[in-house]
């Protein structure tokens, strides 16, 4: 399997969390419609969460792209829901509720005889003032361990470049384990679209990697990362700061608070390769930074 292709059957290790940033109908068809078609062929239930489009319009759109969507919808294999009629009906958006909802969705699909669930989510609502949208990063980061590692689920998160700012797209797609190219090949990373602070799941151990600068401008990203970190399983969670060139005082305060909270729960948070600025703040607040465990 090529790195930019995908397998509708759930791969092992929580690799079922896919994303795709697309622009225009053709790119949508090449990633979303192909994903749906292959999932249906694989005997999976497909749940498509549209942003604002009516379910009927989505079925037609899939049909235009060559998917036998009408028949699949009639027999209950394809289910289309608008976000605001489903998981955004109760606001604010709540990652904890979402985890429960995925469990129920997968149980129902298996009960009905499907091999699992393949879900498509149009995420353009994240660019609007939806209450709880600031927790989407936390949610995307938590999904890998809490949902995909243990459920027969594959999900494709769609980021419409026409509706979501490039920087937001870059931030949220980086939280996924795999990325789909909308044109069937790997896309070059646009340096201008690199978020000032990005978060990526670690692949070799339990934890996250921060890249960029943690400051007043990126506070919400750090908050999302630490909220996700707190939910990762195991006795030790890791935060790789090798790509983090700066942490301000408030960021160090947040890290110390997170480390203290983990310690209180009998767990360890280990910071890897902290930047010089972090060590300097630790020197200024030695007592309060006591819980911070650092390896060079």
């Amino acid at each position: 399997m090529s790195s930019d292709g995908f397998d509708p059957v759930r791969p092992s290790g929580g690799d079922g969390h896919l994303c795709c940033a697309y622009a225009g109908e053709d790119e949508w068809a090449r990633c979303a419609a192909v994903f749906v078609r292959d999932a249906l062929a694989g005997g999976r239930r497909v749940v498509y969460f549209s942003d604002t489009a009516a379910p009927e319009a989505v079925v037609e759109r899939l049909a235009r792209a060559g998917v036998a969507a009408r028949a699949a919808a009639d027999r209950g294999q394809l289910v289309v829901r608008r976000a605001e009629d489903s998981y955004l009906r109760r606001l604010p958006f709540d990652p904890d509720r979402m985890v429960t909802a995925w469990e129920e969705m997968c149980a129902a699909a298996v009960e009905a005889g499907y091999t699992g669930v393949s879900a498509v989510g149009e995420m353009a609502w994240c660019a609007r003032e939806v209450p709880g949208a600031d927790r989407l990063l936390e949610y995307e980061l938590r999904l890998n361990e809490e949902v995909f590692a243990r459920l027969p689920l594959t999900a494709l998160c769609l980021y419409d470049r026409g509706a979501v700012p490039e920087e937001t797209t870059a931030l949220l797609t980086a939280a996924h384990t795999r990325r789909l190219s909308p044109c069937g090949r790997a896309t070059a990373v646009d340096a201008r679209a690199e978020p000032p602070l990005g978060v990526t799941p670690l692949v070799d151990r339990v934890g996250l990697r921060l890249r960029g600068g943690a400051d007043a401008d990126t506070r919400v990203v750090l908050r999302g990362a630490l909220a996700a970190l707190a939910r990762l399983p195991g006795p030790v969670v890791h935060l790789d700061l090798s790509g983090t060139d700066f942490t301000d005082t408030a960021a160090v305060a947040a890290l110390a608070a997170a480390a203290g909270a983990e310690r209180a729960r009998g767990r360890r948070l280990i910071l890897h390769h902290p930047p010089h600025s972090l060590r300097r703040v630790v020197e200024l607040f030695p007592d309060e930074c006591g819980p911070l465990e650092m390896v060079p």
């Binding site: 990126t218 700066f246 005082t249 309060e288």
Partner: protein
């Protein structure tokens, strides 16, 4: 002006805080007077901190070998930036809560620059506000032979009482800290050469840091001090975004003496003149944490609060 502090005004008969300026002529008088103050405090069982310039410190320690319980500090080090002295003094008093801290603090010595003396004078005035109503004594020695007359006349404005020729007298020239601080807000001299200038607003902090780091790499600051410089500028510019009207202007230059200077100018106000002059909790989101960090990192912080905004000049001198 009328004094309107809630607690007893500093220098009044009822205020347990005592803040004398000690005018001394030579080392002998210095050792005798300061030594007497320390011994009396120790006899009373009170905690003692002596923070004076290195040479004076050495002379005192030689004469006070029988005083093991004194906390000693070289003021040219801990008080290099006058803006971080008050935090240290409050730290000491807080560590001995319930007892009357006895402190010798000599923030101004011969050789201090004019800009440093101005900020040290501001610090001396703010001591009165910070310690008003508190049971403590801070004795501030002034070298009458080595210091300019202007410094000595300002000491009479910042100290409610003056110890001179073995006698303590009430200083008629004493002024409220707010008056002295306003007088310290003198216009800052323009840099000799056109500085690098960066306008910033929300979302620009990473770019500001990149600019500062790139510029600082061309100065004589060591890599470790460049980290401090970027951290200090980041805290100050982030303050502009949070409290200074959401934007500001950063200027960078090197003075003729080789000192590296960053000026942060915004539309902020300094509502609390004591902001940044007490050790904050790391977790405190408000209350001068950023400014305190800036004071700890820099060799000098010049502060100018005017009707139209706030200007900070952060100085770092290459070693």
């Amino acid at each position: 002006m009328t004094t309107t502090t809630a607690s007893a005004p500093s220098g009044s008969d009822t205020d347990p805080f005592v803040h004398p300026a000690l005018f001394y002529r030579d080392v002998d008088e210095y050792v005798r007077e300061v030594g007497g103050f320390v011994r009396a405090a120790l006899r009373a069982g009170e905690p003692v901190l002596v923070a004076v310039p290195g040479p004076r410190l050495a002379a005192l320690r030689r004469s006070l070998t029988e005083a093991p319980d004194v906390t000693w500090a070289d003021m040219t080090d801990v008080g290099r930036n006058p803006g971080r002295i008050l935090s240290m003094l409050r730290d000491f008093a807080d560590r001995h809560a319930g007892r009357a801290a006895h402190i010798v603090g000599e923030p101004i010595w011969a050789g201090r620059s004019r800009a440093e003396i101005l900020e040290a004078t501001r610090h001396e005035a703010l001591i009165n506000a910070a310690f008003a109503g508190r049971r403590a004594t801070i004795l501030c020695p002034y070298d009458t032979e080595g210091l300019p007359a202007r410094v000595l006349s300002d000491a009479r404005r910042t100290h409610p009482v003056v110890d001179e020729d073995g006698r303590r007298t009430v200083s008629a020239a004493y002024r409220d800290p707010s008056v002295v601080c306003a007088d310290c807000d003198l216009p800052l001299p323009e840099p000799a050469h056109a500085p690098e200038s960066v306008a910033y607003a929300a979302g620009d902090l990473a770019e500001v840091r990149d600019r500062v780091a790139a510029w600082a790499s061309g100065t004589a600051l060591t890599p470790a001090r460049r980290v401090d410089f970027v951290l200090a500028v980041n805290e100050a510019t982030a303050n502009s975004l949070a409290h200074g009207g959401g934007s500001g202007t950063l200027r960078l230059w090197t003075s003729e003496h080789g000192t590296v200077v960053a000026e942060i100018r915004d539309r902020g106000r300094l509502d609390d003149p004591l902001a940044g002059r007490r050790r904050p909790a790391l977790a405190s989101a408000t209350g001068g944490r950023g400014l305190w960090v800036v004071h700890q990192l820099c060799d000098l912080v010049e502060i100018r609060a005017t009707g139209t905004g706030l200007t900070l000049r952060l100085h770092m001198t290459p070693s």
